[in-house]
């Protein structure tokens, strides 16, 4: 966060509703929190907001304060993995990182041993945190996540941040996060959820219900690189977060393929597969591997001085040893050098940063749409920084793997988990200025003001980035919103095959499926249409209603960006709003021939001051 908020155009001196912000409670469902971190100091805070009905499950080494006002623990599995503690205390680090990204205080001179130096901060630094520990080193069980929703909604949280999810798409009412988020929205609580890290394949996101705010991870313009210098003075710029100080000397290079362990041959040791390299032969040397490895794999290598890997990477990872990942061409040059001399050597320097002009783009790991449950609801919804994010870390948790003895107050990690709390914070920021807005209105504000992202560097276009990269300052004043309430979602569910009886259980009232509840009529802030391979000609109507959320009246005109082959029309194309809360319906029609797998367009309503943009995507379903 020492760069991400500024990259989003959200400086630390931004106008704030400080008193309102300190009355907001963010529910963070995660691995707990390390409450001793200075990011969570309660200096200057008053007592918890009067609406707070939660509790603090105190335990050894854990107490709440006026910043962390609540903490609960959920563990349905009787046995606890070794090293885990039945306490809200975070022994992993993930929960501390996400919570500080949402609502951590301003911490100057924050860095990971000098890397990423700057002011680390939460997006809403005055907000309160309620911790719901649902994740352990072995699982985040559905039963526990649902129990946390049951409590958090009743406890009085204002928003929920959930950087957790399953791998497979599930029907909405067999998916605990969708169930919990549905009941949350009934109480005016928005749930922000990470899209997942199963990209870049299509249909990999499991965060699918329209009432969830599903967040993809994008890059920022600060990129960590790690220089490698060979004995012949040739330099390569590799990718990693190497917080170790420069190696003082040149170290002998050793190729994994040349040092197979007993029971292995070079075909596996060249990739440094687990236990495949002989630890005694790599000790004190820099090991060269023909693959990218996870930190967990380092444990079987023994104690090399460093590791050089080869792969294409769009984000940097830290390791328990000095390490860097070279691109394949540089890997070839490295091996040519190794074969050209009898005593090849190299050294690995501490990481530095470079400016990445291509940012933002969606990270390869970020899960992609389309939506596997409702094909014509676009997912994910928005993108936010989720690559190489520096945020708070507990001193009781290793920064990579258990064997890593370094203990630091900050760590740099990547994932849609890191993107999600950025969006939670912005949603909270919006709520501080607009306390009466529904979850759908806040979601709409975030989506329609998002900055479009570049499809030429994101092959999957909207299925990677949704509406685009969030823009906090625009989102707080969107002009118009696509609002929706429980009954709108119920109508949508009618069209999804849910029966009246089932929906009555869910709502607790006498809801009846009176209309067909067409997906294209749900007041969603984006437009998606799927076609089958044989269906080339399309003629689809969408209906929407816009609500004016600015003071006074204004006239908006529609502008459509129609991709080749499609005719997109809007009726009416001008909407006049007389006062705040004024609602105006319109219809959007997409006609034409589908010639490509994904066709993107957009609809923008503008009154000269506000720009309310929605992506329109037509795609061939596989």
């Amino acid at each position: 966060t020492t760069r991400s908020w500024d990259f989003l155009g959200f400086p630390s001196n931004v106008a704030r509703m400080n008193k309102v912000e300190s009355n907001i409670i963010v529910g963070v469902f995660d691995t707990g929190i390390w409450s001793d971190h200075p990011s969570f100091s309660d200096k200057g805070y008053g007592p918890p907001p009067a609406k707070w009905k939660g509790i603090c499950q105190t335990a050894a080494n854990f107490t709440c304060n006026k910043k962390i006002i609540g903490a609960r623990v959920y563990r349905s599995n009787k046995t606890l993995p070794p090293g885990d503690i039945r306490s809200p205390i975070d022994t992993d680090g993930h929960g501390t990182h996400t919570a500080s990204t949402v609502a951590g205080g301003l911490m100057t001179k924050a860095s990971m041993n000098g890397l990423g130096l700057g002011t680390a901060r939460g997006g809403v630094p005055s907000a309160r945190i309620a911790v719901y520990k649902v994740c352990w080193s072995d699982e985040c069980a559905d039963a526990d996540v649902l129990a946390a929703f049951d409590d958090a909604i009743a406890d009085g949280v204002d928003i929920i941040s959930l950087s957790v999810g399953g791998k497979l798409p599930k029907p909405y009412f067999q998916h605990t996060i969708s169930i919990g988020a549905f009941h949350a929205l009934k109480r005016g609580i928005l749930t922000s959820n990470s899209a997942g890290n199963s990209g870049p394949d299509p249909y990999t996101t499991a965060s699918l219900s329209p009432w969830l705010l599903s967040v993809a991870a994008s890059t920022i313009d600060r990129k960590f690189v790690t220089q490698v210098q060979l004995g012949n003075k040739n330099n390569f710029q590799g990718i990693s977060v190497n917080a170790f100080d420069d190696l003082k000397n040149q170290y002998p290079l050793i190729y994994g393929g040349d040092v197979p362990n007993k029971g292995f041959n070079s075909s596996s040791s060249r990739f440094c597969k687990e236990n495949s390299v002989n630890p005694s032969l790599v000790k004190g040397k820099i090991l060269v591997c023909d693959a990218q490895l996870s930190s967990k794999k380092f444990a079987s290598m023994g104690s090399p001085a460093g590791v050089l890997m080869q792969a294409y990477r769009d984000y940097a990872v830290s390791y328990p040893l000095p390490a860097s990942t070279l691109k394949l061409e540089d890997g070839s040059k490295l091996k040519s050098y190794m074969s050209s001399t009898k005593t090849p050597t190299a050294t690995i320097f501490k990481s530095t940063t470079i400016q990445d002009a291509s940012a933002p783009f969606v990270a390869s790991f970020s899960s992609r749409g389309p939506n596997a449950i409702t094909h014509d609801i676009l997912k994910p919804d928005v993108s936010a920084p989720g690559a190489e994010i520096l945020a708070a870390w507990p001193l009781n948790a290793p920064i990579t793997v258990a064997q890593d003895s370094r203990r630091l107050l900050y760590n740099i990690i990547s994932g849609t988990s890191m993107a999600c709390p950025h969006v939670t914070a912005i949603a909270t920021y919006i709520k501080t200025f607009n306390p009466t807005w529904s979850p759908a209105a806040i979601k709409s504000a975030l989506m329609t003001t998002a900055s479009p992202m570049n499809p030429s560097i994101n092959d999957d276009a909207e299925f990677a980035y949704g509406s685009g990269q969030v823009n906090p300052l625009k989102a707080v004043k969107p002009g118009l919103v696509y609002d929706a309430n429980e009954s709108d979602y119920i109508e949508f569910l009618c069209g999804q095959g849910y029966t009246t009886a089932m929906l009555r259980y869910i709502t607790g009232d006498n809801s009846t499926c009176t209309s067909s509840g067409l997906v294209w009529d749900l007041n969603y802030p984006s437009f998606a249409l799927s076609v089958t391979r044989s269906q080339r000609f399309i003629n689809q109507h969408f209906t929407r209603t816009l609500t004016n959320v600015e003071k006074g009246g204004s006239t908006y005109k529609a502008t459509v960006s129609s991709p080749q082959g499609l005719l997109i029309s809007v009726n009416p194309s001008t909407l006049s709003f007389k006062a705040t809360g004024d609602k105006k319906p319109f219809a959007l029609t997409v006609q034409g021939t589908v010639r490509q797998p994904i066709i993107s367009g957009s609809l923008t309503w503008s009154d000269g001051r506000h720009s309310v943009r929605s992506p329109i995507i037509v795609y061939v379903r596989s």
Binding site: D138, E139, A147, F149, D151, I153, A154, H183, R504
Partner: protein, 86 residues
């Protein structure tokens, strides 16, 4: 995820919260005794969801889960699966 007796944790989701949430456990217990029998061990009931919606998490066999799914008032029954940190 299965116990020695072939049971695993299922979530029984029953929609919006009851008007009298404190009576939730009576409803749930009655339903469980009907399906599993009166010998139903109390420790098998892992959670009662009653503060914000209605449901429970319980250890069941697959057959018992299928039976509960047919009961009036039940929206869905599904195994408690593992989610991952992202």
């Amino acid at each position: 995820d299965f116990d020695d007796d072939g049971r695993k944790i299922y979530i029984v989701y029953m929609g919006s919260k009851l008007e009298d949430p404190d009576s939730a456990h009576l409803h749930h217990r009655a339903m469980l005794e009907e399906v599993v029998g009166s010998h139903f061990p109390p420790e098998s009931l892992i959670y009662i969801y009653k503060r914000s919606f209605n449901g429970f998490a319980v250890k069941l066999t697959e057959e018992e889960a299928q039976k509960i799914a047919t009961k009036e008032g039940v929206v869905s029954v599904f195994p408690s699966e593992k989610n991952q940190l992202h």
